[in-house]
């Protein structure tokens, strides 16, 4: 039976308690398994959104494809599933993970713009390449962001 403490600990006991807390933080970060399938799903969502450029008509009559909103919903559902699978809702992602997230958004916008450019030049087939690039790079960057968030847990 664990009793509440009636006295302050000694300096050595206090230092040992603080070391124990650091060890628990390490164990927490080490114990979380990286949800690779769901991170790849984020890459899939990015690829799907970039591929939407293939059915767009760049020019005066350009209308943004509605797949953008569906991709946003799919990404939010994937974030929810990552939280469920890992059993952790992060409090802070850290600067590095934040920068990687911004890079993911910027990359998707750039690849979408390139895809629209390719379509306008009649190379609609080449959107396959930008779409595959989106899948690969976003999957990888999502993994980098997740591992950075885990590193934040250790601090």
């Amino acid at each position: 039976m664990e009793n509440d403490f009636e006295r302050n600990p000694s300096p050595e006991e206090a230092a040992a308690s603080l070391r124990g807390l650091a060890a628990d933080r390490q164990a927490l970060a080490d114990g979380v398994h990286v949800p690779k399938t769901l991170l790849a799903a984020l890459g899939g969502v990015a690829a799907w959104w970039v591929a939407g450029a293939a059915v767009a008509n760049p020019g005066e009559n350009y209308a943004p494809p509605s797949s953008g909103w569906l991709a946003l919903v799919a990404a939010l559902v994937t974030f929810h599933l990552i939280r469920r699978e890992t059993g952790i809702s992060f409090r802070k992602m850290g600067l590095r993970a934040g920068l990687v997230t911004v890079a993911i958004i910027a990359l998707c916008l750039i690849l979408f713009s390139i895809s629209l450019g390719l379509v306008s030049f009649g190379a609609r087939w080449a959107v396959v390449l930008t779409s595959l690039s989106a899948f690969g790079i976003v999957s990888w960057l999502a993994g980098v962001a997740f591992r950075s968030a885990l590193d934040q847990l250790r601090q």
């Binding site: 403490f5 302050n8 600990p9 308690s17 603080l18 628990d24």
Partner: protein
């Protein structure tokens, strides 16, 4: 800046570890916390009950798609009061240990 305050209720070893892990996250599943601390369900439940009664942690249930029975995921979080109390307790430990902030 948090003012140092030693908290007897938090300082019990398992409760100190619970607060230390929860401080790093927004919310955490019961099973992940149990596995991180390497304690039994009963031990963790007992200490969570004590912390919840003190208003230091909150527990919420969520449906689990991976379970076919009525069991649910339990999400645990430090309350703002718990976060403040643990921060003050950490300060007290650092002062006692002679560790500068």
């Amino acid at each position: 800046m948090t003012k140092a305050r030693f908290d007897d209720l938090i300082h019990a070893p398992v409760r100190l570890r619970i607060c230390g892990v929860l401080r790093q996250v927004d919310q955490m599943d019961f099973a992940v916390l149990r596995d991180t601390l390497d304690v039994s369900d009963a031990t963790l439940s007992k200490h969570l009950k004590t912390l919840a009664e003190a208003g230091y942690v909150s527990l919420s249930k969520a449906a689990s798609a991976s379970r076919s029975d009525a069991r649910r995921l339990t999400w645990i979080a430090l309350t703002p009061a718990g976060r403040d109390a643990f921060g003050a307790h950490l300060q007290a430990l650092q002062e006692i240990a002679g560790i500068p902030e």
